[in-house]
Amino acid sequence: MGFWLELAASGLITGGIYAVVAIGLNLQYGLMRIMNISHGEFLMLGAYLTWLAHTTLKINPIVLLPGVAVTLFLVGMVVYRLCFRRISRSAPTVEVIEARSLLVGFGLMFFVQNAVYLAWGADLRGYSFMAEPVDIAGARFMANRLLVFGVAVAASLGLLAVLRWTMIGKAVRAMMQSPTGAQLVGIDTSTLHPVVFGAGLALAGVAGGLLSMVYEISPSMGEPYTVTALIVITLGGLGSAIGSLLGGFLLGLVEAFGMHFTNPSLKMVLSYGVLVAVLIARPKGLFAR
């Protein structure tokens, strides 16, 4: 019995990592239909900032996370102002916003990746943090993975709470349901959009900072995470905060049990198989409204 619990726990922890990667993108897409394909690059930027500050200033990386979040929030406001505001305003339909933001996302992806390469080189980087085993009910886990898991759950639930119970959350949800309707009832989209976009990047930055505690980092690390994020949020249903948390868990569990019952070589086949099967059965994800 203990063995199965351990297997499930390890799947959930990996799933939590997937979820934390996806939250920010989900927010941006859900609200504004901005398909920010450079999501992974900003995550990478967060990872580099955390690594840089930790290795040069010797500050505890957990303490750094709020700073990373604020920095990326500001970066996000600027990026929104320079790149996405024009698209949101001028595009005639939602489809066009999706398509154009995708293209701009490619441009940002090239830009950020190359800038980080110029600043710090393409080497692998990393540092050791909370790399200690922790005993929980007889099972052993790495402390830094547990931390990521905890933050993923907290951030998802927090986001859910903000959306449900605060004024800004209500405004955001109104926007998600009907952008024009929201404007009619007096919601100020010109402030809300940059703030939500910035929040999306801030969450990406925090995810990056957390990942830098667990995995090694490099300027090319972003793209696979963008892919993970896209899969998790479509699996859960675009725009659904709880959906992406559960989508992440589902993927993590499929992988853990799949690896045990078949073999790890089939891991990718299994995860993409689940994605394809879920979407064919439920074309708008598991938790679409």
Binding site: Y29, M35, L82, C83, R86, I87, S90, A91, P92, T93, E95, V96, E98, A99, R100, L102, L103, V104, F106, G107, L108, M109, F110, F111, V112, Q113, N114, A115, L118, V227, L230, I231, T234, L238, S265, L266, M268, V269, Y272, G273, L275, V276, L279, I280, P283, K284, G285
Partner: protein, 312 residues
């Protein structure tokens, strides 16, 4: 849809003639260019064919398919598996047919998805094929990649790719003027309405999706011989699909000429930047791309095509 059937049909013979003439003119390049310039021309042609075939289906219907890499990679694997027992030309044809067949198969299953969901599922399917092939190769043949020993001459590859490109452009011209083309445009405008007007939407979509997948399949089969060593990671590289989408959209996926001009423009520009700014070319390319999308929302096509529609 401002122009009538008749005016569309009227332009067809002229457009086809132009395509064939351009193809014939381009066919002399192997005698004029160095290996490098020829491979640059090859790259322009490859992306032109990819972008034109992508736009054939995705342009009018507004679907965003990321499955190009899957068709391309399958084609490449047809060559990797078949080149020992088949002539090169036949593997190219077979690659195209495998691409088309695969597209028909997945088309039936996933074309009811829209928007980002369709993009993600086509990406997922590409990865699924990539990892399935890796797994089969590993368990059944105990190998991770295949070596192509008898590669044809560069000029032969070039002519083959040129042939595929001419065929892709000609097909696109014909599709645009055909009933299928109208059906697709109708589906892009309002699928339900098109159906009430008697369009069998599902059949039209599967047919066009499958037709458009023939070309990336054939291109994969044709290009694979250039790399000697074929492994899933490099021939199913998702960037082949991303780049196709990018080129087609920046060019203007609703137009015919847009994707062609855009592929030449991007291939040359990227290569130019890469060679002149060997450390920072992606920086420049990234900025250019953003500026282009923001200030030329109609795509490159809006520079030279009258009445280019506003959809990017």
């Amino acid at each position: 849809m401002s122009r009538s059937t008749l005016t569309r049909m009227r332009g067809v013979p002229r457009a086809l003639t132009l395509t064939v003439v351009a193809g014939a003119l381009l066919a002399v390049l192997p005698w004029l260019l160095s290996d490098f310039m020829l491979s640059l021309a090859l790259s322009c042609l490859m992306f032109a064919a990819l972008a034109v075939s992508w736009s054939m289906f995705c342009g009018p219907t507004h679907y965003l398919s990321l499955a190009t890499s899957a068709f391309f990679g399958l084609g490449a694997y047809v060559t990797a598996w078949g080149l020992e027992s088949m002539p090169y030309g036949l593997t190219v044809l077979a690659g195209g047919l495998v691409g088309a067949a695969f597209a028909a198969l997945i088309g039936v299953a996933v074309l009811h998805l829209r928007g980002a969901y369709f993009a993600v599922i086509t990406f997922g399917l590409t990865e699924l094929v990539l990892h399935s092939i890796t797994y089969v190769e590993k368990t059944m043949f105990e190998t991770a990649g295949r070596i192509i020993s008898d590669a044809p001459e560069n000029a032969v590859i070039y002519w083959t790719v040129l042939g595929i490109t001419v065929l892709a452009v000609a097909t696109a011209i014909l599709v645009r003027a055909s009933r299928l083309g109208f059906a697709l445009a109708g589906i892009g405008g309002d699928e339900e309405r098109a159906q009430t007007l008697g369009v069998n939407a599902r059949r039209a979509k599967v047919l066009a999706f499958s037709l458009s997948a023939f070309f990336p399949g054939a291109l994969g089969a044709a290009m694979a011989v250039r790399w000697t060593y074929i492994e899933p990671m490099s021939v199913f590289n998702p960037f082949i699909g991303f780049q196709t989408v990018l080129i087609a959209m920046v060019g203007g996926a609703q137009t015919l000429l847009g994707p062609i001009v855009s592929s030449v423009f991007f291939s040359l520009l990227t290569e130019f930047l890469r060679l002149r700014f060997p450390y920072a070319f992606l920086l420049v390319l990234g900025i250019l791309l953003v500026v282009l999308v923001l200030y030329l929302p109609g795509g490159l096509a809006s520079l030279f095509v009258r009445r280019a529609r506003p959809h990017a």
